[in-house]
Amino acid sequence: MRRIHAPADALYAAVVGLLGLIALAILVGPVLVVLAVSFTSEPSLRFPPQGFSLRWYAALIDPAQSGHIHEAALNSVTVALRAAGVATLVSGAAALWLRTRSGPAGRAVDLAFMSPLVLPMLSFGLAALILLTTIRVRPTLFWLSAGHLVVVAPYVLRTTAASLSQLGQPLLDSSASLGASRLYTFRRITLPIIAPGLAAGAFLAFMASMDNVPVSLFLSSARTDMLPIRLWGMIESSLDVRVAAASGVLVVSTTLLLLAMNRLVNLSRRISR
């Protein structure tokens, strides 16, 4: 019976294989290209790069030339740590509350908290700028962190809710009927079960904040420059090869962080669940 479909099945394998290859090339190609170009010895972005050198990395490290990039990177890390840290606390707590509320009200609250993932955050960025101007405060790193917090909170909520789904009510009931206080139950049962989810969420929130453009675009200024906005400015004004070196640093550090998180909390599995 299989014979009948032999030509069609061969075509299927060819089409799926070809499209899959194109998809993988589109996914991975740019990462490799940007790494290769960062080692060029020329002041141009030609590919394949001409010659090998570390001059753009040296230029990137040099505080005299690239001090403003360092400052922007430091601001981004500061904001990302604050936003991810607070998001982990408040979203983790909110996930505990949402766990027992599967009715329409609970679902509506959950949908509202998750909405920053789908709504155009550029609109929110503008709205946040208008709010700060209306209440007459200068957008400092504090306000940038607050803006990022709203955008990255859903990541923690999602990963924590996923790990909470493994926490059965009987487990909590038996802990209570054995005389454990709620705090003790939380410390000894709930927390160990959700800890990997919290960690994965905190990591995703940190990375999302580091990469945030829509909010930083409106809330950052010369004084509170953020890394993605600074790099974007460098791309728009002149095709500075230091952007390639900065990209190389980001590629390597992101890869290492992802490897570490995979080892610690099996991140890949967790976000593809």
């Binding site: 155009p120 550029l122 503008l126 709205a127 209570a176 580091m210 790099l231």
Partner: protein, 291 residues
Amino acid sequence: MTAAASDLRAGAVARLRLSPPEWPLVAPLGLIFVGFFLAPLALLVWTSMHADAEMTRLGPESWMRFLGDPFYLKVAADTLLLGLKTVALTLVLGVAIGLIFLEASPAQRTALLFIIILPLLLSVVVRTFAWIVILGSEGVVSNAALALGLTSAPFSLLQTELGLIISLAQIELPLMLLPLLSVMGRIDPNLLDASRALGASRWRTLWRVILPLSAPGLTAGCLLVFASSTAAFISQSVIGGGRLIYMPLVIWQQSIVVYNWPFAAVVSLCLLISVLGVIGVIHWLGRRVRA
């Protein structure tokens, strides 16, 4: 039940009843959400109802200016079309990867997930920058076409819609793949074997078994890709250059360069509403396919 056990049970029940209320758990995120998400968005609506850039009087003029100008309506239509085209491309590429994922061994699946998640975590600015190197006139595509004799002169795909959609596909593909693979990973392999054993070709198995079972993942992926690609300010402005204009660029120009906040607010709200509208349609389509 013995007296001791009953005592213990009563104690547990009492403890449960005396337990503190749970709402403080959700209060912090709720307050942050209301104060720093809903309040600004309400203020955005209020701002959009002002007639002039100085916000001295209320009036529908900002809305009329957007809705009555064919240029801005075309920008809006282009933005939504860009989103739909990106969804179409990522859908085809995503399903192809999904089918490979279905037949992959556990070790291959782990590697594939790594390849999908790494670009997702990598900065959008870095990925957009990479596409400049690839699509430019001295870039990979142009040089390869020259070497293969497909073209006689170097060419650039920058500032073209095709170039923008290809680069957006790279940025959005992980968002399509994560929900899709999670649903596809749960398909019972026996169903595929059964379909084959009953004489279905692989195409028929794809159409009648795999895709219907993947519908929830496909819907979720399409939603995320559409929402993200219509608002992808960096890619749209860097790859599209000044030549391709979409709503995010108009929002940025009107608010940061021209300082016309009411008009920027109008464009922001139109982007928000139209994205929500299309998401509603995709959601509805997804449910119809499943039903």
